[in-house]
Symmetry: C2
Subunit: 312 residues, 2 copies
């Protein structure tokens, strides 16, 4: 049983209450605690030594990545992060300087996005470092964007360039908070998710949530320099476009909106975010499933996303 | 450097913002996100296999304990828990049935206290299970009780009976949510903390936060049956009263209020919570430090609380 099957098994039995707008299954939980005009966003995410980072990662990068992953989920709802708690599970032998550097990376990112670090916990995890972050944010009720909501005919967009993130970007990416809020402020975004499992995998989450399918144009998928370089250096590496489709940890935004908004979006985006590529990569279809169109025609995608999770 | 020294080193550099009422250093963070009349409470806590529970713990107990620890912190602020996220870091080989039983224990406790489980994450921690819970709650602004606020002359109270929790109670305790809210509704509680590090250790946290000291009456400290039994069974066990003073994981409430309220509190408590002992164990002093009065007189306490944290 893999991560998604396990979660599907556990989710139906979870207790709810009247505050829950959206529970398990989206990028963040959405809660109505009586805040005028706004919903709360609530999210946790963990990074584990040897799984999400290795010995080559600088401590600052580990702290940065742990918080950035959570902020990327707040971005995926078009929300604003407010505060975070840090759970640091430390190996039996640790150096104080190492922990201070983890916090330095985390604090710098928090400061850039106005996030308060309001406490947390240190505990022991003898064999390896584990860093779990809980983030609280909020979003205007009329601006929240969920995974569900895509309509047949919608255009599918992705920010940035995909693939090869594990070569370095996964430790240094900046969560797309400003971009997501600008999108929700200026366009009727139908559905959004951040890319952590890979374009194919996360697009499937979005399609399943919306009860729709999609057809991507292979040539339109933006491929990162890292993915191209890996394919040049090693014959064992994935072809670059397959890497862009299936590598994990891009932490870009994937979203859909009405096709009539596609050109106005591309025009205004260039002026507002000149340094960040935005690509229209395909369209939403009524027919379920993911299909990829290339020179040979349209074929069902049977590729899978990046699995963070060891199977039992 | 131990847990408390490390936290003291890290806390001053943490980023803040205008929403922070109380940041790191109390049982929960207290946040003002604009909720009319109420503050939000935000807390995370983790349990780790081999540290907070061992192979004899039933999976349901592990789930129960993980959430109950967080709810106990919400209780210590006189708050109401609202929702929780679950981070489950699983060993490489795990059984689905085990995970379902962890959730069964966690869900049952959540239902009893009206807490929604709104998602979370599963990840891999190859050598051992780690379960981290993030809880969101709220409290009326005029009812919140912090660690600071004790006044010289205050009476010091503790609920329940202390010591020997690791014999079993630490896996099954019920967080004192109803009791704490009743206290804050009916009395001007000056300061409160839940007992996780042991009476001596947690009282010292409360005293340091308030810039005061305390004198306890040794004979008034309520000693659990488990602590007495351990002393009878093993000559290597702590004397029962020392166990009550220093064992961790009691998860009872420790609080102070004006001495004029002490008798009215004891009278009304008995009628409201007949099954739960409430003990007045001493008084707050202007002179800092913790002193214990017994038949031999008053001596400074040099005992320490339970350390959850391996020292480097």
């Amino acid at each position: 049983m893999n991560e998604f099957e396990l979660i599907a098994r556990l989710t139906p039995g979870l207790p709810g209450n009247a505050t829950v707008v959206v529970g398990a299954g989206d990028d963040c939980a959405v809660l109505d605690l009586g805040l005028p005009g706004r919903w709360l966003l609530f999210k946790t995410d963990a990074v584990v030594e040897g799984i999400h980072f290795d010995a080559t990662a600088r401590p600052e990068q580990i702290g940065h990545k742990a918080l950035a992953r959570c902020l990327s989920d707040i971005a995926a709802m078009a929300g604003e992060p407010s505060s975070a708690l840090v759970t640091l599970a430390l190996p039996t032998r640790f150096e104080t300087g190492f922990v201070e550097r983890v916090y330095a990376g985390l604090n710098a990112l928090a400061r850039r996005h106005g996030v308060a670090i309001v406490g947390g916990e240190t505990t022991t995890n003898p064999e390896r470092l584990l860093l779990s972050i809980a983030v609280l944010g909020s979003v205007a009720k009329d601006k929240v964007v969920l995974r569900r909501g895509s309509q047949p005919g919608d255009a599918v967009f992705v920010t940035g360039e995909l693939g090869g993130s594990l070569a370095g970007r996964h430790l240094e990416f900046e969560p797309r908070l400003a971009e997501a809020r600008w999108l929700a402020d200026h366009f009727a975004v139908h559905a959004m998710i951040d890319l952590s499992d890979g374009l194919a995998g996360d697009l499937c989450h979005l399609l399943e949530a919306g009860g729709v399918g999609a057809e991507l144009s292979s040539a339109a998928i933006p491929v990162s320099r890292a993915a191209k370089r890996q394919a040049q250096v090693s014959t064992r590496a994935k072809p670059p476009r397959l890497a862009a489709l299936t590598d994990g940890e891009d932490f870009e935004l994937l979203f859909t909106l009405a096709s009539r908004d596609a050109v106005p979006l591309l025009d205004t985006w260039k002026a507002r975010f000149p340094g960040l590529r935005l690509s229209c990569i395909g369209k939403i279809t009524a027919e379920p499933g993911l299909r990829v169109r290339d020179r040979r025609g349209v074929t069902p995608s049977n590729v899978h996303g990046y699995a963070h999770f060891a199977q039992s």
